[in-house]
């Protein structure tokens, strides 16, 4: 369904086509046989024990190799495993039964590594507690090397990490490795954000430690901007870091710290813009930094806001596809200014009253 070239009329079919036709014939033979036996098993489920013969299991495995999305066949395997494990007491034999299932899943994933049913079957088998979790991590390392963005693989890795009880401080190291391999790995940045939240929300984590972590993250993510400032992955993460930074406002010592961070980051974005004057993401981020700066530092409010406005205006022509979004930011800016103007008028007014009273 995805990424297959269109067959033009009169064009010779690809060699792949013949192979697929053979598979289609095989599937059409195996599927009705399977569905028939599946139904009989199910009906007798209550009273009669189904045999789940080796032959039936092999035929089922072949079906899943031909079409890993055939969910009813995965269900059949789960019923079979429950039944077989129910009467097997030897621990080694039980482990072997689980291993056979993991092997069937690997063969299915080779055909389609985005198959929900295959991934869930693996999770379900691991849940039986008969398999090595470390072996799963080794397998995942290979898989995520082949496709670092496979979200099924990442989900499954999080499941293994949780089952194994790996602390977030250790789990985060894997994301560092993946990002160092390829900074454009959004899946890794995503996972990193979740782990970092977990660490900073841990009981007893000191504010100083959270601040230091955030500063390290700013430096880490900025590396990627120098390689390719057009890659979205790191910028979304950066945007989230800024949010986390602002969230600390109000905690002891954070206000001074915030201004220090903002000054440093504004400076860094300006430097980047000197190298890449048309970098959309740098401009957008700089505008956001400036607006944050403006809302915490009254003395530079006007110049910050004016500069941010210039960046948004330039973004409208630099990235016309998203012009409406930048226009929205500009309109927010003017409505905010209106409110600010009004409040400054009132303060002036109150101030003058105060003066009058004093005099």
């Amino acid at each position: 369904m995805h990424g297959r070239p269109r067959q033009r009329p009169g064009q010779a079919p690809s060699p792949l086509h013949h192979q697929e036709q053979a598979y289609a014939v095989e599937l059409q033979k195996l599927m009705p046989q399977f569905l028939q036996s599946n139904r009989t098993c199910w009906v007798f489920d209550v009273g009669v024990v189904c045999s789940y013969s080796a032959e039936a299991m092999n035929q089922n495995a072949r079906l899943l190799e031909l079409n890993p999305e055939f969910y009813t066949a995965w269900n059949y395997r789960k019923r079979a495993v429950e039944e077989i494990l129910g009467r097997e007491t030897d621990e080694e034999a039980r482990k072997g039964i689980a291993q056979r299932e993991l092997d069937v899943v690997v063969r299915a994933l080779r055909v389609n590594h985005k198959c929900y049913g295959a991934w869930y079957h693996r999770k379900w088998v691991i849940g039986l507690g008969l398999s090595s979790l470390d072996a799963e991590l080794v397998l995942l390392k290979k898989l995520l090397r082949l496709d670092g963005r496979n979200f099924h693989g990442w989900d499954y890795r999080r499941f293994i990490v949780k089952t194994k009880g790996v602390p977030p401080e250790e789990a985060i190291l894997f994301t560092t490795d993946k990002i160092n391999e390829n900074f454009s790995n959004y899946s890794a940045w995503h996972n990193r954000s979740a782990l970092l939240s977990e660490i900073s929300k841990k009981e007893g984590t000191e504010i100083n430690r959270v601040q230091a972590m955030l500063e390290d993250e700013y430096d880490f993510v900025k590396n990627s901007f120098y390689t390719d400032p057009d890659d979205q992955s790191g910028w979304f993460y950066y945007c989230w870091l800024l949010e986390q930074t602002i969230a600390l406002v109000g905690t002891p010592g954070s206000d001074v710290w915030l201004m220090k961070v903002l000054d440093k980051e504004i400076e860094a974005c300006r430097e980047l813009l000197e190298l890449e004057s048309n970098s959309k993401w740098t401009k957008l981020t700089l505008a956001r930094l400036l607006l944050t700066h403006a809302s915490y530092n009254t003395s530079s409010r006007k110049s910050d806001t004016d500069e941010a406005r210039t960046h948004f205006e330039e973004l409208c022509s630099l990235d016309p596809t998203h012009r409406e979004y930048y226009q929205y930011q500009l309109s927010m800016l003017s409505s905010k200014e209106l409110i600010k103007d009004r409040s400054s008028l009132t303060t002036q007014h109150e101030g003058s009253e105060e003066l009058q009273l004093k005099s």
Binding site: F151, S187, F236
Partner: protein, 322 residues
């Protein structure tokens, strides 16, 4: 691509109608999800104003054959019941105004039985949890007017727990944001009356950034554009009232460029092989973009607006046109 600038409606209608007779690998490999295939094809036909060409009684009889004793529907006759196909079955029955053919309480009982303590939903008796199933449950029960049968607040809270650093949503808490998943979560929250969980400005921006230079939309950062995201991204943006943040004209052009002008149907990207899934999402996307000659589609229920109105406001069946 001068010949791709308009919608080849008749070709697409013929393509969808021809699908049932095919027996190539794609057709055989899709047998397990024939219920969803039928929903995609029939909804696309309805949007194009051609649902009347279909044999309603035959289709309804087949749907009923796919229902299991437990109340859930399988992807095809003799296939195991699953919440995905239960929603598709109910959606098709809505298209034909034939909800009277099924026992709504029985279907509702099946879905209710799949809700977990934490508010999430399993896809079937085997316990896989995914926010896609939360959407299926909430959408399906709403169409059956039986939303009161589940703990809706808990259901919405679980979806909210799947929110990420970018404002998007994943399959389970901690899962990466993905446009398809975002549609399910935003759709579920919209129907469940809990859109306050959505950070519209942050997520709207992230979704708008799915549009790439060609005008097409991708599902995650740094991925290729694909017609199916025209639906998932677009429907979410419409629900969140942020659809103007993308270039609609360019997106419509991208979808039209993915048509097969000879054989009919729409593919994921220009010059790829067409399928019913992308044909539906392409046509539905064009409908959301207000393309002339297409019926309006509801972004949350993924059914034509007149069908949703009929379900909720109980308009009388139209007399058959002779």
């Amino acid at each position: 691509m001068a010949d791709s600038e308009e919608l080849h409606l008749e070709k697409h209608v013929d393509y969808i109608k021809s699908l049932d007779k095919k027996s190539d690998f794609d057709a055989v490999a899709m047998e397990h999800l024939r219920m969803s295939g039928a929903y995609w094809g029939l909804t696309a036909l309805d949007i194009m104003g051609r649902l009347g060409d279909m044999n309603v009684d035959e289709i309804v009889a087949w749907i009923l054959k796919c229902q299991d004793e437990c109340g859930g529907f399988g992807g095809n006759y003799q296939h195991d019941p699953h919440i995905l196909y239960t929603l598709s079955a109910v959606q098709i029955l809505c298209l034909f105004d034939r909800l009277d053919a099924v026992d709504g309480d029985k279907i509702a009982a099946y879905i209710t039985g799949l809700q977990n303590e934490d508010g999430s939903f399993a896809g079937d008796e085997w316990g896989e949890v995914d926010t896609r199933f939360s959407y299926c449950a909430i959408c399906c029960l709403s169409l059956l007017k039986r939303l009161d049968k589940i703990d809706l607040e808990k259901a919405c809270d679980f979806v909210a727990r799947c929110k990420n650093f970018d404002g998007g949503f994943g399959c389970i808490p901690g899962g990466e944001s993905h446009a398809g998943q975002i549609f399910c979560c935003v759709g579920a929250l919209a129907i469940g009356g809990a859109l306050h969980h959505v950070d519209k400005d942050l997520l709207g921006w992230w979704l708008a950034e799915r549009q790439v230079k060609s005008g097409g939309l991708n599902g995650r950062p740094e991925k290729l554009p694909d017609v199916c995201y025209s639906w998932w991204v677009l429907a979410s943006l419409v629900i969140m009232d942020r659809v103007h943040w993308i270039d609609k004209k360019k997106l419509a052009q991208f979808i039209l460029d993915c048509q097969d002008p000879e054989g009919g149907g729409i593919s994921d990207r220009p010059d790829d092989a067409v399928d019913v899934f992308h044909t539906y999402f392409g046509v539905a996307g064009l409908s959301l973009l207000g393309y002339p000659g297409l019926k309006a589609i509801d972004p949350a229920y993924a059914l034509p607006v007149d069908v949703v109105d009929r379900v909720f406001y109980g308009q009388k069946k139209q007399p058959p046109v002779s």
